[in-house]
């Protein structure tokens, strides 16, 4: 009951000095809004970065094979992994479910006499399953294609072709280097991800065997593995590296596991978010100083009132509470409005960068809590000042 009385009184005092209260509140509001907007923005950016794993899953392991810089191994026994050897990797360990070796080439591409800007990717049927390539039209590469001159084009390449002809590209022919391929399908837009090297959207996708024929430089330099759900990617990495070393020497292997990437991105984004939060915190600090400033003026102006209250029996604690409650009301109101504004700003940011907008629970919670704490912290000094007034002096004040 006493507390409600304190809050009623604090509220009335704030109302009686409207402009001043609004100014103090604005400081807290802007500070809280910036904390909430910054942290929400950071979280959304994290989400956006991790989005690829929602479709891909986190049980992928990518291997890039490159030439060792060590001269000793340069005259290696075998130049490239064969398709069969690559496929056999999945049989060598029970936690490897599927294997997709692929080849990247940079032969010139022509369509109807128009040069197109793109690359060549030689793949197996499993590639679409593992990396979730979806078809807009036609079919994907099949393992039954072997050396047949069929190909699939990416969405980007399709857009380029559309500028030259209005015909449906499926069934048309496209020239890759000196070979002619028939377009068997068009892939849908493929979102960028950190697993597949090269730009699948701007690629002519060939059967892997046909790619070997298309260029003498064709080498299987990338493999994507799909692992069973609870497989340890560290263990599989060691296993695969040993397996490959048995086949040929003089190579270097770089592994990228989805779990590892998620972890690293998570860590980076955490630091990023903390820094954004700190920047927001600085404006909240400024807002808090505003509250203190205004409260200090209020203490001086209301000295006589404090004197009267002391004369009828208010203790120092009572006087302190009187001002603290006002600071807390200001901070809570500012915090609440700030949280709302912060969410609106975060929404604007999401709209501008085409991110998926999500309301996170913890940035508003943090923003609100910190703003109330700021109010208490910066309200404390003026409240303390007021409580130390000498009643005789306070009564004499005008």
């Amino acid at each position: 009951m006493r507390w409600t009385a304190y809050f009623q009184e604090g509220w009335q005092n704030l109302l009686s000095a409207k402009l001043r209260s609004i100014l103090a509140l604005t400081g807290i509001l802007v500070g809280t809004a910036s904390v909430v907007a910054m942290i929400s923005g950071g979280e959304m950016a994290t989400n956006e970065a991790l989005k690829q794993f929602k479709t891909l899953g986190t049980d992928l392991l990518a291997i890039t094979i490159s030439e060792s810089s060590d001269k000793l191994f340069q005259n290696a026994t075998q130049k490239s992994l064969s398709v069969e050897q690559a496929k056999a990797i999945s049989d060598s360990d029970h936690s490897i479910l599927e294997v997709a070796p692929y080849i990247q080439l940079y032969n010139p591409i022509q369509f109807n006499g128009h040069a197109l800007d793109g690359a060549i990717v030689g793949v197996t049927e499993s590639f679409a399953r593992i990396t979730h390539i979806e078809m807009a039209e036609g079919r994907f590469i099949s393992d039954l294609d072997h050396y047949e001159p069929f190909c699939v084009i990416g969405d980007g390449l399709y857009q380029q072709i559309k500028q030259h002809t209005l015909m449906n590209p499926v069934g048309q022919q496209i020239q890759v280097g000196s070979a002619i391929f028939t377009i068997a399908g068009v892939a849908k837009y493929f979102p960028e991800n950190s697993f597949v090297d090269g730009n699948v959207n701007n690629a002519v996708i060939l059967p892997i065997e046909a790619a070997f024929l298309a260029s003498q430089y064709a080498v299987i330099n990338n493999i994507v593995l799909k692992l069973s759900e609870n497989a340890s990617s560290d263990r599989v990495e060691v296993h695969v590296e040993n397996y490959l070393r048995h086949i040929f020497s003089g190579k270097q292997y770089a592994f990228r596991s989805a779990k590892e990437l998620v972890k690293r991105m998570g860590k980076q984004n955490e630091i990023f978010t903390v820094f954004l939060g700190l920047i927001g915190g600085v404006s909240l600090l400024v807002g808090g100083i505003g509250v203190m400033n205004i409260m200090l003026v209020s203490v001086v102006e209301r000295r006589r009132e404090m004197g009267i209250r002391m004369a009828v029996g208010a203790t120092r604690r009572d006087i302190r509470l009187l001002f603290l409650v006002e600071a807390v009301i200001l901070a809570m109101a500012g915090g609440l409005l700030g949280v709302l504004l912060g969410i609106v700003i975060a929404y604007g940011v999401a709209l501008y960068w085409h991110w998926e907008f999500t309301i996170f629970l913890w940035p508003p919670l943090v923003g609100f809590t910190v703003s109330v704490a700021t109010g208490v912290f910066f309200g404390f000094y003026p409240a303390h000042q007021a409580s130390r007034l000498n009643p005789v002096v306070a009564l004499r004040a005008d």
Binding site: R309, V312, G313
Partner: protein, 223 residues
């Protein structure tokens, strides 16, 4: 009749870095329950300081203050607040009502700091407003009331906690002579009908003549 207040050798010294100012010099004073006294003196004589000490708003630099035979000369700030709340009621020259509160809320204020239940406080405050003839104005803000009415509300506030002593500092100083007389009559009635202990600080001889005893202060001493 037992003595309510006994001041023994109370002195008050204000020190600044360069000089000392002796506001009160070895004051000895005894005040009985139910007495009504006037403290008279020129401004700067120390009469307000004396009243502040008697009313626990201030403390002497040296000497002893016995209130109901208890030594209260060295109390902490919280203890002073408590004793002011329980034992004293103040009436000031410029009324000192809180401008944002209405008459009723002003009268209830001492009870709020006593942690008294709200409805009970309301009842008490209303009956006190009735006693001072202000029951019709309980929802008026101080700036809607005349000076005499404000002082009546202030007297109700001083009485609401049923204090042992009422301290009035120039209670008629801001009022015209007619309303001043009415307010003075109210204080006299309280003294006579309820045997209230009242200390009035004034420089008006007409007022001091109503009191049983007059103490004249000059230059920090009782003469």
């Amino acid at each position: 009749m037992s003595s309510l207040i006994r001041l023994k050798n109370i002195s008050k010294v204000y020190r600044s870095h360069a000089s000392e100012f002796h506001a009160l010099k070895s004051i000895n004073l005894e005040l009985n329950r139910g007495e009504m006294i006037a403290i008279v003196g020129a401004s700067g004589s120390g009469k307000s300081t004396l009243m502040n000490i008697i009313g626990f708003l201030d403390q002497g630099t040296s000497g002893h203050y016995l209130f109901s035979d208890q030594d209260v000369s060295r109390l902490t700030s919280d203890e002073l607040s408590h004793i002011r709340n329980q034992k004293t009621g103040f009436v000031f020259q410029s009324f000192f009502l809180l401008p944002k509160m209405n008459a009723l809320q002003n009268v209830m204020l001492p009870l709020f700091y006593r942690n008294e239940e709200k409805e009970l406080s309301r009842q008490k405050a209303l009956s006190l407003l009735k006693k001072v003839g202000m029951e019709k104005f309980s929802h008026y803000k101080p700036n809607q009331l005349s000076g005499g009415q404000q002082q009546r509300v202030a007297i109700a506030r001083a009485l609401v906690g049923n204090p042992e002593i009422i301290l009035a500092d120039e209670p008629t100083g801001s009022l015209d002579s007619g309303t001043g007389r009415d307010v003075m009559q109210l204080l006299l009635d309280l003294h006579q009908a309820e045997k209230r202990t009242i200390v009035i600080v004034t420089h008006d001889e007409k007022i001091s003549r109503h009191c049983q005893r007059t103490i004249i202060i000059n230059d920090g001493r009782i003469v």
